[in-house]
Symmetry: C2
Amino acid sequence: MQNLSTQLKKAFDAYFEAPIEAWEEFAAHCEPMIHRKDEVLKKQGNSEKYFYFIEKGSVGVFLWKENNFVCLDFAFDGQFCCDYMSVLTEEPNDLELVALETTKVHRMTVENFRKLGDKSIGQILMRKSAESSFVDKQKQQIDLLTKSSEERYRELCQRFPKVELRVAQKHIASYLGITPQSLSRLRRKHA
Amino acid sequence: MQNLSTQLKKAFDAYFEAPIEAWEEFAAHCEPMIHRKDEVLKKQGNSEKYFYFIEKGSVGVFLWKENNFVCLDFAFDGQFCCDYMSVLTEEPNDLELVALETTKVHRMTVENFRKLGDKSIGQILMRKSAESSFVDKQKQQIDLLTKSSEERYRELCQRFPKVELRVAQKHIASYLGITPQSLSRLRRKHA
DNA sequence: AGAAAAAATTACCCTATGGTAAAGTTTTTT
DNA sequence: AAAAAACTTTACCATAGGGTAATTTTTTCT
C-alpha cells in the first residue's frame, strides 16, 4: 500500500498542486479494485458511483451514438478518471467507462468524494480537480479545431507511448473523430 | 447599478449555484466598462488581467493559427468570460478575447478574483466556475465528435438566437470547424 | 456621398474521410 | 485444435469540406 501512496502522491503533484492533507484524506478513503478488459466501470445512463485512480492499466470514456461509440478520453497509469459530468451535476449521464485492458484502480465512492468536498481541504481538491479537467478539455477542443487527424494521431502516440499496442484501433479512431478505415490509411502512409 | 446586481445575480443562479455571499463579494469588486466592436479585451500571448461579466453584447474567444483565427467560444449577454486557462495556470496564454459588437461588461481584476479565491466563499466560487467551464467544454467536445457541421450550426442558432445577425459568419464558421465558404453553402441549402 | 476595404457568396476542382464490402488477421470460444 | 467472432486492412466509389479565385454585398473610412 505504501507503493500506492507514492504513486498517488506523484499523480496529485502532477495534477492538482493541492496541499498534502488533501491527498492524504483522499488516499484514506480509497479501495483497491481490479477490472478485466472490457469490464464496464460505469454504465451509460447511470449516475457515477466512484472516482477512480488508475494504478496500472487504462480506461476509456465512451459516448454511445446510434450503433457506435465515440471515445472521448483515455486514462492511463497514474491518472484519475470518472464520469465527471455526472459527479458535478449529480445526475445520471450517458458516458460509459470501460477498462481497455486488465486494470488496477483505487476507487473512492462519489459520496465520500462529495463529503470530502464539504471540508475546506476537500474544497480545494474539488476545485483543482475541476480546473485541471477544464484545461484538459480545452486542449482537446483546440486540437479538434486546429489540427488534422494525422497530427492528432501523432500527438496522441507521443503523449501515451505504446497506445497503439494497448488500445484497439477503433477506439483510437473514434477518439480522433475518424473511422477505423481512415486511421488504418493514416498508419500505412506514415509507417 | 441595481440593475447590474439583478442581472449578475441571475447569471450566478443559472451558472454557479453558489451561495449568495459569493456573488455579493464578486459584484463588490466589479468595474463597468464599454468595449467597441473588434476591441481586444485580452491579447494573445499575454496573461489574463480581468474576469468579465457581459451585461450586453458579445465576446469571442479566439486562437490564432497561422494566418487565421479559430473561434473557440462565444459569450453573450449574462455570461462570464475570460482566458480561463491563463487564470488557472497563472501564465501567459495564446487565447485572444475580442468584442464582437459594442459590449458592456463588468470586469474584476484577476488579482481580486484570486484574492477572492483565498476566502472560503471564493473557494466555492472558483470551484463552481471551473466546474461549469468544464461541463461546457465537455459538451463542445461531444458536439465536435458526434455531430455534423450542419447540426452544430443549427444548435448554435438555437442556443444563441440571432447569432447569425450579431456575429460575423467567418467567426461562426471557425467555431464550427469549417470555412466561411462551407458555412455559406450550408446556409443556402437550409434557408 | 463616394471610395476603399472587408466580408459573404458562388463556382470550380481537389482531397480527406465516409460507407460498404471483402479479405486477411487476431482473439475468443467451444 | 478447430470454429467462430471480432478486429484490421484494403479497395472502390461517393461526398463533405478545403483551396483558390471571381463576383456581389456590406461595412468602414475619408
